[in-house]
């Protein structure tokens, strides 16, 4: 019978070796899956902000797990304690694992001390989507905002994270900015650490 004897049976999923993270699926498979996530949530809500919130919540769970996975696999269980450290982790390591590249840019907000922005010319989840006019400012990047929030929260840097479209001169499609607004306690701790 097919399959018998070919695979080592693990009685407990925790005993299975952690994959190296090199396996791939087609971008389409992800696009279709993500599309279903959006469509399912559209049926569960009455308005755009609810939809964004649900996508964000879905992303949050992904973020929390990504943090665990990466800390264990890539960082040898070391923990980031400084703001710039965790931002760099998100902008480079997390982005590289999830999207195959580091984020286009990481900037500090000019108007507020507690704001930072990670920008992407064309966020993966927005690539196949053209938002109809009646959906206003809806941005599927809310899912990614959720992932970032999950990572930051799990690492001890609570923040409010949102996704925004920012029109760019000379570009037909706007770029997406993930806006991170850290909680007060994070800034206070950062100041204490010097």
């Amino acid at each position: 019978m097919i399959g018998v004897g070919k695979i080592k049976q693990y009685s407990n999923v925790l005993d299975k070796p952690l994959s190296k993270g090199k396996q791939e699926v087609s971008l389409s498979a992800f696009a279709f899956l993500f599309s279903e996530l959006v469509q399912y949530n559209q049926t569960q809500v009455d308005n755009i902000s609810e939809l964004e919130r649900r996508l964000e919540d879905a992303g949050y769970a992904v973020g929390a797990r990504v943090l665990e996975l990466l800390c264990h696999r890539d960082k040898g269980n070391r923990r980031e304690t400084r703001l710039l450290g965790i931002l760099s982790f998100v902008h480079s390591t997390v982005w590289k694992v999830l999207f195959g590249k580091v984020a286009d840019s990481l900037e500090k907000g000019t108007e507020h001390e507690d704001e930072y922005m990670i920008s992407e010319k064309e966020l993966l989840v927005n690539r196949f989507i053209s938002i109809p006019k009646d959906m206003g400012t809806f941005n599927c990047g809310a899912f990614v905002a959720g992932i970032v929030r999950g990572v930051l929260d799990g690492a001890g840097f609570p923040a409010v994270v949102t996704a925004h479209f920012v029109p760019v001169e000379g570009q037909q499609r706007p770029r997406t900015t993930i806006l991170i607004k850290f909680a007060e306690e994070v800034l206070r701790r950062e100041a204490r650490l010097g």
Binding site: V13, E36, N41, V62, R65, V97, L98
Partner: protein, 186 residues
């Protein structure tokens, strides 16, 4: 001019854009989790996953056809082989095999040993009736329906339930050739 032969799954997979399987796995996990929270009943979640799969299948078929150059969907045996060797490879990066053909050639099993949907997953006791990968059965059913094949897809073996592989039974119910769609006498 003779029709172009279908491309191999490996060739297509090498040429499409790919993403890290972990993003895929974790996103799927998020979906299942959302459904369990919203619907609570495991049977309802199974149904919803199948429906979602169906919604994906009816769109995915066009990508499949566009990239694989398949132009004929007349023979079920041929179709099942193409799903296993080309379909699974070009989307999930894994190959499946086709076995257990019945005498009429209308029922077979598709067996998957590698399944990117289930990395890191263990079913808790409260979800024992859950067919975690039920989205796959919907995808196959939806895709086949778009090429005029009505099928029934069920799970025979599920690794999350202790079996040694993932086995889907695909049964061809009927083939529906294209009819003139307009009802009036235009």
């Amino acid at each position: 001019m003779a029709p172009v032969a279908p491309r191999s799954g490996d060739a297509i997979f090498a040429n499409v854009e790919r993403v890290n399987a972990e993003l895929f796995t974790l996103t799927y996990g998020a979906i299942v989790r959302q459904l369990l929270t919203d619907l609570e009943e495991v049977e309802e979640v199974n149904k919803q996953l199948d429906q979602m799969g169906y919604n994906i299948g009816i769109r995915l078929i066009d990508e499949f056809l566009a990239k694989s150059n398949v132009s004929r969907c007349v023979d079920f045996k041929e179709t099942a082989e193409v799903i296993a060797k080309v379909g699974f490879k070009m989307f999930l990066g894994v190959t499946a095999s086709v076995t257990n053909w019945d005498a009429d050639g209308t029922c077979c099993s598709i067996v998957l040993e590698d399944n990117p949907l289930v990395d890191f997953v263990e079913l808790p006791d409260t979800c024992q009736g859950l067919y975690y990968c039920n989205i796959l059965s919907g995808v196959i059913r939806g895709a086949l329906e778009m090429v005029s094949m009505k099928t029934e897809v069920t799970w025979l073996r599920d690794m999350l339930r202790g079996d040694d592989a993932f086995e889907l039974q695909v049964k061809l119910l009927k083939q529906v050739p294209e009819e003139y769609p307009y009802k009036d006498d235009e």
